[in-house]
């Protein structure tokens, strides 16, 4: 008589394995017996099945107490308890990815056979990693140990009507099983726990908590992770976008501001003029529309209080050249690190391109002024009207502990246009500055703006406001490729600006009727190095045409003027300058990177401040590499409801024509409406737990517990169903195999 005990879990097919082993022997003319222990436990609960094989009729109907061999179907059930009653020459057959030597201590002295049945079974389509069906695979392994041939195994599988993948799996297991007699003294089973006293039906103990720790049923368990939200990842200023949006959603605008001001002194500015790469990265774009982060930032800035500024406490003084976004950011962050800073600005007023290059209908002066003033309140000195040239810079590097240069883009790109009327051309950035100073009127003039960036759109819309008869933007690619903020383009079109796509100016001449711009029609070709399709001239006959105009404004972008830099110096990638004898000089913002956005300049200014701090103190404030980005596939989109994006209230287009009043009025609260909160509520909070309670609410066992500021899983009872993970909307919970 051979007796076997099979240790498995409910649903793993232990009883079927018993039947298969018995059947294999029955088909060879033996007597067999196979049965399981039926109890209350369900799928996943540890269970036992038994087999008896004999030459004669089997008359023993008791459970098996002293098996000749044992089989363990699930590696989480491998423990010394399986040695209970096992006869000394018996085999221990384990479903385990590890070979016999891994059990050298636990099962010392025993015959051990191992096979990675789970991998084999799953690779043959028998169940999933979460719920693998390993019984037929283990049969193949058992055959090697029990002196059954592969033919016996296959005959039994056919007899019990198991198909091809089972036979294939069994065969693979037969070939891959590892067998070994482990060295050492025979390990022994721990002694059985004493029996609980029997309770009577009227006893007080009736109603006590279950003694089963159902965590022992689990083959997987949930874990938590934090991923980087794509908006945070995409923010050049390094803002915790998700974090401030969450604060807005909780109507805690002060906290939203505190979060924003950690990384940027200019939330009010960015909330109005940032191109918002965060919104381009927003995973919600794949669901309906990206969260309107820009408006939320503005809302926070309009409604939140800034924390009281701290005053510098260090003695090392800093020079910051330029008061645009990079300079402001560098001065601000240096001040927050305790350094007294002096900002040098060539113009009379601070703000750089924010003041000169962005029309006030987009960025009102008081908003800019308030944010600059907050920077200054951190103990930042100003020397305005002081243009710094190369010699001055060298001097500063000997007077200050460090210098940050953020002078932006000084030179405008030109267009190679010939003709007799090129005197009517003007650079957009100069035009905007003149408009700002009230130096220009365009009564009835017809204006053509060349370019597709924000400056082009700003110039066009400004021209409209100062009386232009018509304003046309000509752009050599199509609208889809325009770098300008989409909403700005929309608003310009609403205001009457027209857009001529796929057009490149060639000549600006005069004829008897006045000036005319000869243009070339373009078409889109293969992508260039910027990733956008390359515009190439249309070769058809009527591809050239003339546009009448009084004035042409060029807005083709700007470049930095590096003439300020000392001779022999060079900007490294990180903004540091090489080859100088004085204090360290750092270059930042557009001046160093030509990124061309406010947000990038802010990030660059902060990074410059950290570089300086690290150089002076050795303290590294740069954060360690962040967690992986929460890609769209970790977001459980079907858990969200579609919700239209909340948009800013707009000044009516008719009211915009002749004024520089702010066009976009922000998210407007109504008596029953709180669009900022609604919009913040659209945030998926990708990869970051926001205490939404989904895991806690949907856990069938009730063992997700609030633990301080997060959640804890009570693994003692967790059955590993995975519902918390499937119901986590934002990829924070994942299941790990035990």
């Amino acid at each position: 008589m051979i007796e076997l005990t099979i240790y498995g879990r409910g649903g793993q097919g232990g009883v079927t394995l018993a039947k298969l082993i018995a059947t294999a022997h029955f088909l060879r003319g033996k007597h067999g017996q196979a049965f399981g222990v039926y109890a209350a436990e369900r799928s996943g609960a540890p269970l036992q099945a038994y087999v008896r094989i004999d030459d004669n009729e089997i008359t023993n109907h008791n459970q098996v107490y002293e098996p000749d061999h044992v089989i363990v179907l699930d590696r989480t059930l491998i423990n010394p308890q399986i040695l209970t009653g096992l006869k000394p020459d018996g085999w221990i057959i384990l479903n385990s990815p590890d070979g016999p030597d891994a059990f050298a201590e636990q099962f010392s002295g025993w015959h051990v056979a191992t096979v990675d049945a789970t991998t084999i079974a799953v690779s043959n389509g028998l169940g999933t990693r979460a719920v693998p069906i390993v019984n037929t695979t283990v049969l193949g392994a058992a055959a090697r140990v029990f002196d059954m041939s592969l033919e016996d195994v296959e005959a039994a599988l056919v007899e019990v009507k198991f198909g091809g993948p089972n036979i294939k799996s069994a065969r693979e297991a037969y070939e891959r099983v590892q067998v070994k007699r482990l060295k050492g003294r025979l390990a022994a089973a721990p002694s059985a726990p004493p029996k609980e006293p029997v309770a009577g039906i009227l006893d007080d103990v009736v109603g006590a908590m279950p003694r089963i720790k159902t965590g022992s049923w689990a083959t997987r368990q949930p874990e938590r992770q934090t991923l980087t939200p794509p908006c945070n990842h995409g923010c050049p200023a390094g803002n915790d976008v998700r974090g401030f949006v969450e604060a807005v959603g909780e109507e805690d605008y002060d906290r939203a501001m505190t979060i924003l001001l950690e990384t940027s002194p200019l939330p009010g500015v960015c909330g109005r003029v940032c191109p918002a790469p965060c919104m381009e990265a927003c995973n919600r774009r794949l669901f309906d529309e990206p969260v309107n982060v820009r408006e939320l930032e503005r809302y926070a800035a309009d409604h939140g209080q800034r924390p009281d500024p701290v005053k510098p406490w260090r003695k090392e003084r800093m020079a910051v050249v330029g008061s645009g976004p990079a300079g402001l950011s560098a001065a601000y962050h240096l001040a927050r690190l305790g350094y007294p800073a002096t900002m040098f600005e060539g113009s009379a007023e601070l703000g750089g391109v924010l003041r000169t290059g962005i029309p006030t209908y987009r960025l009102p002066r008081d908003v800019l002024g308030e944010e600059i003033s907050y920077v200054l309140q951190h103990g930042v000195d100003v020397q305005s009207g002081r243009f710094i040239d190369r010699a001055d810079l060298l001097k500063l590097s000997h007077e200050y502990a460090a210098v940050f240069v953020g002078t932006g883009l000084q030179d405008s790109r030109n267009l190679n246009i010939s003709g007799s009327a090129t005197d009517l051309m003007e650079q957009g950035i100069d035009f905007l500055d003149r408009v700002r100073q009230g130096q220009v009127r365009l009564d009835g003039e017809h204006v053509i703006v060349v370019g597709g960036g924000n400056t082009a759109v700003d110039a066009a819309r400004s021209a409209k406001r100062i009386g232009a008869g018509s304003v046309r933007i000509v752009y050599r690619r199509t609208r889809a490729e325009m770098p300008a903020i989409k909403e700005e383009v929309d608003e310009g079109l609403e205001e009457g600006v027209t857009l001529h796509e796929l057009v490149m100016p060639l000549r600006l001449d005069r004829d008897g009727l006045g000036p005319l711009l000869t243009c070339q029609r373009m078409r889109l070709g293969e992508p260039d190095e910027s990733g956008r399709p390359r515009p190439i001239p249309d070769t058809s006959e009527d591809a050239q045409f003339d546009l009448r105009c009084n004035r042409v404004i060029l807005a083709l972008g700007q470049t930095s003027n590096l003439a300020i830099l000392p001779e022999g110096s060079e900007i490294r990638k990180d903004g540091t300058l090489l080859g100088l004898s004085g204090a360290p000089i750092f270059a930042g913002g557009d001046f160093a990177t030509a990124e061309g956005t406010v947000t990038a300049a802010i990030g660059s200014g902060r990074s410059g401040a950290w570089h300086i701090h690290r150089t002076l103190t050795g303290e590294d404030l740069f954060p360690p590499p962040s967690e992986p980005v929460a890609e769209p596939d970790v977001i459980t989109m079907h858990l969200f409801n579609h919700a239209p994006r909340e948009n800013s209230v707009m000044l009516p287009a008719a009211d915009r024509r002749h004024t520089f009043k702010e066009v976009r009025l922000g998210l407007a609260d109504g008596p029953d409406r709180h669009p900022a909160v609604a919009e913040a509520g659209r945030c998926f909070s990708c990869g970051v737990c926001n205490d939404c309670d989904q895991c806690l609410n949907y856990c069938p066992e009730g063992i997700v517990l609030r633990d301080g500021e997060g959640y804890r899983f009570d693994y003692g009872y967790c059955k590993g169903c995975g519902i918390c993970s499937s119901q986590c909307p934002r990829g924070v919970i994942y299941m790990s195999e035990l």
């Binding site: 069938p700 066992e701 009730g702 059955k719």
Partner: protein, 299 residues
């Protein structure tokens, strides 16, 4: 310093305690937890017939139910609850008496008892967790099993449609009947609270995912029910006094295949799922007609 609470402190008074013997991913467990929550601290008396729900309790003398619980014979849940409820009423005790039953005990063997208690309008909150199968006995068909589902007694797929238990209960003109989804938490909690505030016989039907019987991934249990509701297969609605209808959520175009292809019990459903789609269509034609003819005020 923080001290970790013992399981007794954490869970002892839960309606459903951890350590219960339900399968991983069992929908009943979610239902029991939400029942507990929606009762807002009030502890129900449970009456549970022979079904998975009583096996849940585990072995004597321990129990996974942290509230007074009576196991009844298979067909008797509503009648036992009538007895309990009557005596509570005689003694002026406000405790809510909950029948927690499977579909076998509701649609089949217990239907006469249920009908009688409903007709008497006894003060009982009757909740059927319908997993559309005799799960406790190994997965045989019940009259709640949907068309084409494979069970151990319908190996070629069930040839009959599911019994419309809600219509039967509406025919009793009970004060409140509603369907509940374990994927629609707020709706579920609201309906339990509505039922709790209503006196007389209240019938709640929740489609209860059963990974073991449905041959589905435990982790998809909740998602399956969400798909069932969104596809229109399991409509969420309420019937007041048996004659006033309120439909809570309309199908949103989710294809029923999202539901069907995730369960191996549905291997006999044709790839276009046409029979289920026609079932959905019929069901909604009926519900829409009822809701139009007999609307609940304010619906």
């Amino acid at each position: 310093m923080s001290t970790v609470a013992s399981p007794e402190e954490l869970y002892c008074h839960n309606v459903l305690r951890p350590g219960n013997t339900n399968c991983a991913g069992c929908g009943m467990s979610i239902g029991l937890r939400w029942l507990d929550e929606a009762l807002d601290g009030e502890k129900p008396t449970m009456v549970i017939p022979a079904c998975c729900g009583i096996v849940t309790a585990g072995a004597f003398p321990t129990t996974a139910y942290g509230v007074p619980t009576a196991a009844s014979t298979f067909a008797s849940a509503a009648a036992v609850a009538s007895g309990v409820s009557a005596v509570y009423a005689l003694n002026g005790e406000p405790d809510v008496v909950v029948c927690w039953t499977g579909d076998g005990g509701t649609y089949d063997i217990g239907v006469a008892t249920l009908s009688a208690a409903a007709e008497r309008n006894d003060d009982i909150l009757y909740i059927c967790y319908d997993n559309e199968i005799y799960g406790n006995t190994g997965g045989q068909r019940s009259s709640a099993t949907p068309e084409l589902a494979v069970t151990s007694t319908t190996t070629k797929g069930k040839s009959e449609r599911k019994k419309d238990m809600m219509a039967i209960m509406a025919g009793h003109r009970i004060p409140y009947a509603a369907t509940l989804s374990v994927a629609h938490r707020e709706d579920f909690l609201r309906k339990i609270r509505t039922a709790r505030k209503t006196s007389g016989f209240r019938f709640l039907l929740t489609l209860s995912p059963c990974p073991t019987g449905w041959k589905s991934d435990p982790e998809e249990s909740v998602d399956l029910i969400r798909h069932a509701v969104r596809s229109g297969l399991f409509p969420l609605y309420e019937i007041f006094d048996g004659i006033r209808y309120r439909l809570n959520e309309r199908p949103d175009g989710t294809p029923v295949e999202e539901y069907v292809t995730r369960q191996r019990r549905y291997t006999k459903v044709p790839t276009d799922a046409a029979p289920l789609k026609s079932y959905i269509e019929d069901q909604w034609r009926y519900l829409d007609a009822m809701a139009k003819a007999f609307p609940m005020e304010g619906a």
